[in-house]
């Protein structure tokens, strides 16, 4: 390769390196934000759980058990699988590992003679499913790097509605759980039917710490009455679980992109080193060539 060509290639690799480094830094900043938001959700979820416990004890145990979102359907004919992916790629295995886990799970479900209904968040997941001719019942896109409660509540409304109406008999969610900036793990959780334990927490904690006002049950006012407020509170947990998964997935997405961009930047420096070496070699070869020619010319004169 001539010196000039190598020089051009070095310049273009340097530019790529600059871009990937910038993307790495942007992802790192967004990661911190997403991580913080996932953490902020916890006190809200805990408070919601306390209120639900209070409403449940006021409404009586029967009311809670009778709520449709807690019911296991007698016959599970149709299983909804919600794949949580990203709108953008360039994040290593982030999207593909969710898709793979989703398709594997779908095969399992179908092997058991049940039907699969795909739901997906993120353009990557939606387009991959469509590419494989898997119909997507509902898709949600445009927010995966910064999901809000509005998005979660919209998805929750669709899923709870379809579940209670019997169009789907179980809802599973597959997402990238956030372990650390460098580590994401594929998690599969059952969203519906809701487990009563996830709503009111484990019984020991409930018994050990009676809620404020719980001891004066008769004195507490309820607007609307306890059974109605309980029926509104319990489905909120679907929304909260969803939001938590979306936020963890967003943090994981930024983490995965940060890692992917870091190794891209490292690769770029490695390529630059190799190319610089090649350029030096080419330059040296040219110099050697010229010296040889000068020496040969001088010898010819002698």
């Amino acid at each position: 390769m001539a010196q000039r060509d190598v020089k051009n290639r070095i310049a273009s690799v340097q530019n790529i390196g600059k871009i990937t480094r910038a993307m790495e830094m942007v992802s790192a900043a967004r990661l911190r934000k997403a991580e913080e938001r996932a953490r902020q959700l916890r006190p809200y979820a805990d408070a919601l759980r306390k209120m639900t416990r209070q409403a449940a004890s006021a409404a009586g145990s029967g009311e809670m058990q009778a709520l449709p979102v807690l019911q296991t359907h007698d016959e599970e004919r149709r299983v909804a699988i919600l794949l949580v992916t990203a709108d953008r790629g360039l994040a290593g295995a982030f999207n593909s590992q969710i898709l793979r886990a989703g398709l594997e799970r779908a095969d399992e479900v179908e092997a058991e003679g049940r039907e699969v209904a795909f739901y997906a968040t993120g353009r990557r997941g939606v387009s991959s499913l469509q590419f494989r001719n898997k119909p997507v019942i509902e898709s949600y896109t445009g927010f995966t790097d910064a999901p809000s409660v509005t998005h979660a509540s919209r998805i929750a409304d669709d899923l709870v509605g379809a579940f209670v109406d019997g169009q789907i008999d179980r809802v599973e969610i597959i997402y990238n759980g956030y372990v650390s900036p460098l580590v994401q793990e594929v998690r599969r959780e059952t969203l519906l039917p809701l487990a009563a334990a996830s709503v009111v927490g484990d019984d020991d904690a409930a018994d050990a710490a009676p809620e404020d006002g719980g001891g004066h049950k008769a004195l507490v006012e309820y607007e609307p009455d306890p059974a109605e407020i309980l029926a509104e509170l319990v489905p909120e947990f679907v929304q909260v679980s969803l939001l938590r998964a979306l936020l963890e997935s967003a943090a994981s997405e930024h983490g995965a992109r940060m890692t992917a961009m870091r190794s891209a930047s490292d690769n770029a420096s490695e390529v630059i080193d190799t190319l610089t070496l090649a350029m030096n070699r080419a330059r040296q070869a040219e110099i050697t060539q010229e010296i040889m020619e000068v020496v040969a010319g001088a010898e010819a004169l002698n």
Binding site: Q40, A47, M51, Q54, S153, D165, G213, E221, E223, P224
Partner: protein, 138 residues
Amino acid sequence: MAHAPFRAEVLTPDGALFAGEVEQVSTRTVAGEIGILARHSPLLGRLEPAELKLTEPGGDVTRYVQTGGYVQIAADGNVLLLAEEAYPVDEYSKSDAQARLDDAEERLGRAEAGTEAHRIATIAHRRAKALVALGDRL
């Protein structure tokens, strides 16, 4: 006249919006407008889209918009507001609220009458409408 202070907390899924001493909390539950002073009797209520006013000791009033949620008054009179979304009143956007209402309308139109999906869409629609109407009263 100054009222006795009590503790109030406003929690959203995005974190604590307010935590501190207040003299009065005014908001709206499904049963209507409610003004909470110190030593209010215990309550658990469902919040409607409305203005949320916190009067701090000294008379400073902080105004928020809440889109829904729950309010709990504990036996000791402390107040906890769990708001699905809440933000300072000057961040309210009529066009956002209208976009939500359009979305809710479209979803309601798609849902089949008598189903749970329809019931959920009806509630979302009623709330979106209340949020739009709130814009004129701020």
